[in-house]
Amino acid sequence: MAAAKDVQRELEKEMMFGMAEKEMEYRVELFNRLTHVCFEKCIEKRHKEAELNMGENSCIDRCVSKYWQVTNIVGGMLGTQQTQM
C-alpha cells in the first residue's frame, strides 16, 4: 500500500515535470515562429548588408508587438470558448 502511494506520488511528480516541459516547449516554439515570421515580413531578402537598417529595426519592433497582440486576442478567444487552454 505504501508502495502504491509511492508510485502515485512518483507519477504526479513526472506529470508536473512533463507539464512544465510542455509549457517551456510552447514558449520556445512561440519565439521561433515569431522570429521566423518577422524575418520574412521585415528583412530584405537579397542581404546586401550585414547590418539591420533603421527601417528593418523598427519593423521588427512593431512586428513583435503586433504578433504579441494576436497571441493575446486568440488566447482570449480560446479562453472564453473552451474555458480552459
Binding site: V7, Q8, M15, G18, M19, K66, Y67, V70
Partner: protein, 93 residues
Amino acid sequence: MDKSMLGDIDNLPDEDKMRMSAMIEQLQMRDSLRMYNALVETCFKDCVDTFRRKTLDKQEESCVRRCAEKFLKHSMRVGMRFAELNQGVATPD
C-alpha cells in the same frame, strides 16, 4: 502502420495504465499548445502586413478574430472527418 499497437492497453497493470493516461494527457496538452501557436501564426500571416504602427489597426484586428474563428471551426470539421475515416465510416461524394 497498424493501430493494434495500443490495442492491449486494457491488459496492462494499473500502474502502467496510469502512466499511459498521464502520457496521453501530456501529449494532448502539447497538442493544444501547438495548435494555439499554429493558429496565431496562420492568422498573423494572413491578416497583418503593414508595420507602420506597433498596434493592430481595427481592420487587422477584426481580420484576426474572423480568421481565428474560422480556423477553429475548420479544425473541428477536419477532426470530425478524420475521426470518421479512422473508423472506416463511408461518406457520400
